[in-house]
């Protein structure tokens, strides 16, 4: 094992929560409401199906091959050549996914605050600070998650607590005006985000104790889904029908806060705290990518590759999408299918082959 550090169940759940939720609350309301309109709060509930399914498959696989990550048991299950190819597809996906996460972060900071700064400075500076955390290993990221995420969670709730006088619960009606289909169609983006729970396979071998991992994984999925439903409902109550025209409803909501006409313009505080969650998300993505790459190449350590791979991520984040509009369009159309094929189909394939292999080897034994 390359990594010597160990994490607890709570840290696993928090890291996975940050990995999914930090950018999800920014982008999901817009992408979902394009199809679902007023039913956007139902979509994450449909999306949770792929989250639960993937957690079950990944936990099952890690029970069959204890102490190994997806990259390592892929090779054991499918044989050396095919296993390397499948792992490469997964790693390339992970690189792309990490780059997209950095781009999402950069685009948000740029459109909210730093209008004239080139995006490469925003992503580059966060990549540098993430590189320091990644260099410290998984324990550093786990501690960061336990310290930062309670603050971030409190913030998500506080935004809407301050807005209670402006919330109009009647905006939720009519529920399911055009039947159930629009909310299912809108659920494609939550499906994509929740399918990122397949990254849990990199963290399970690092747990000190692995019996209750299923329970904590499910807990993490439920927490992420509840957060998304909460954020979507809060935005719907505040904005009503115009929600499908706002790129960042959460940010607009924070801008809307005004308590007694002296407590205003707190969106800067909101973003400053949100960045903490974004930092945990980006550094865990970054960490998993580096761990996966060094396992794929069977290298003795990963610390030398933190800076070169960080540079590669920044290049990919510039290269992968030409513009913000293009990225948003991709999130609602082609990206989710890509996420689901890699993160759902590959684990299902591995589990199927592994189970068949186990059965055959048992029947041959006396």
């Amino acid at each position: 094992m390359i990594e010597k550090g160990r994490i607890s169940y709570l840290e696993l759940a928090l890291i996975m929560y940050a990995t999914v939720v930090a950018t999800a609350i920014l982008y999901i309301p817009y992408v979902t409401s394009q199809h679902a309109k007023r039913d956007l709060w139902l979509s994450p509930i449909w999306g949770s199906l792929s989250g639960f399914l993937i957690v079950m498959i990944i936990v099952k696989l890690s029970k069959l091959y204890p102490g190994k990550t997806l990259i390592e048991y892929g090779e054991l299950i499918l044989g050396r050549t095919l296993g390397k190819i499948i792992s490469f597809i997964y790693l390339f996906f992970l690189l792309h996914d990490t780059a997209i996460a950095f781009r999402e972060y950069g685009e948000f900071i740029e459109s909210a605050f730093l209008h004239k700064t080139p995006i490469i400075f925003v992503t580059g500076s966060i990549a540098l600070s993430c590189a320091i955390a990644v260099h410290g290993g998984i324990e550093t990221i786990g501690r960061c998650a336990t310290i930062f995420l309670p603050i971030v969670l409190a913030l998500y709730i506080l935004i809407y607590v301050f807005l209670i006088p402006d919330l109009n619960v009647k905006n939720i009606f009519p529920i399911m005006q055009d039947g159930i289909m629009p909310s299912i169609k809108g659920s494609i983006a939550p499906h994509a985000w929740l399918s990122q729970f397949s990254l849990m396979s990199f963290l399970i071998p690092l747990l000190t104790n692995q019996q209750k991992v299923m329970k904590w994984g499910m807990f993490s999925v439920i927490a992420s889904v509840l957060t998304m439903v909460f954020i979507n409902l809060g935005n719907l109550f505040l904005f009503g029908g115009i929600i499908s025209n706002l790129y960042f409803p959460v940010f607009e909501a924070a801008r809307f806060i005004s308590v007694g006409s002296f407590f205003e313009h707190i969106e800067s505080i909101v973003i400053a705290f949100w960045v903490l969650g974004g930092f945990v998300q980006l550094s865990s993505f970054f960490y998993m990518l580096i761990l996966g790459t060094s396992q794929w190449l069977t290298l003795p350590s990963y610390k030398q590759f933190v800076l070169p791979i960080g540079f590669l991520i920044i290049i990919f984040s510039v290269w992968s999408t030409p513009s913000f509009e293009e990225m948003i369009r991709g999130m609602g159309t082609t990206m989710p299918f890509y996420f689901l094929t890699v993160q759902l189909l590959i684990p299902v394939l591995l589990l199927g082959v592994a189970v068949i292999r186990r059965k055959r080897s048992k029947s041959f034994l006396p």
């Binding site: 290298l299 003795p300 610390k303 030398q304 540079f311 590669l312 990225m327 159309t333 082609t334 890509y338």
Partner: protein
């Protein structure tokens, strides 16, 4: 402009190299080779992106592969 971009990328990569080299010297051949290949890949991609900013990237590849799914949605 383009010369400046290429120079900037090269300077950053050289700085990364200088920072990592003292620790890298103790490692085996495989680690060194991987490091150099990664740096080479970084440099080639960065220079290509500086010269052709509109170069089709992985996003377009994904769009191309999954375009047919869009019609079902």
């Amino acid at each position: 402009m383009k010369v400046g971009g290429i120079l900037g990328v090269t300077v950053i990569l050289v700085l990364i190299f200088l920072y990592q080299w003292p620790k890298l010297k103790k490692n085996g051949r495989k680690v060194k080779m991987t490091f150099f290949l990664l740096m080479l890949l970084n440099w080639v991609l960065a220079v290509l992106l500086v010269i052709f900013p509109e170069m089709p990237g992985p996003g377009q590849l994904i769009d191309f592969i999954y375009k047919s799914f869009e019609t079902f949605w």
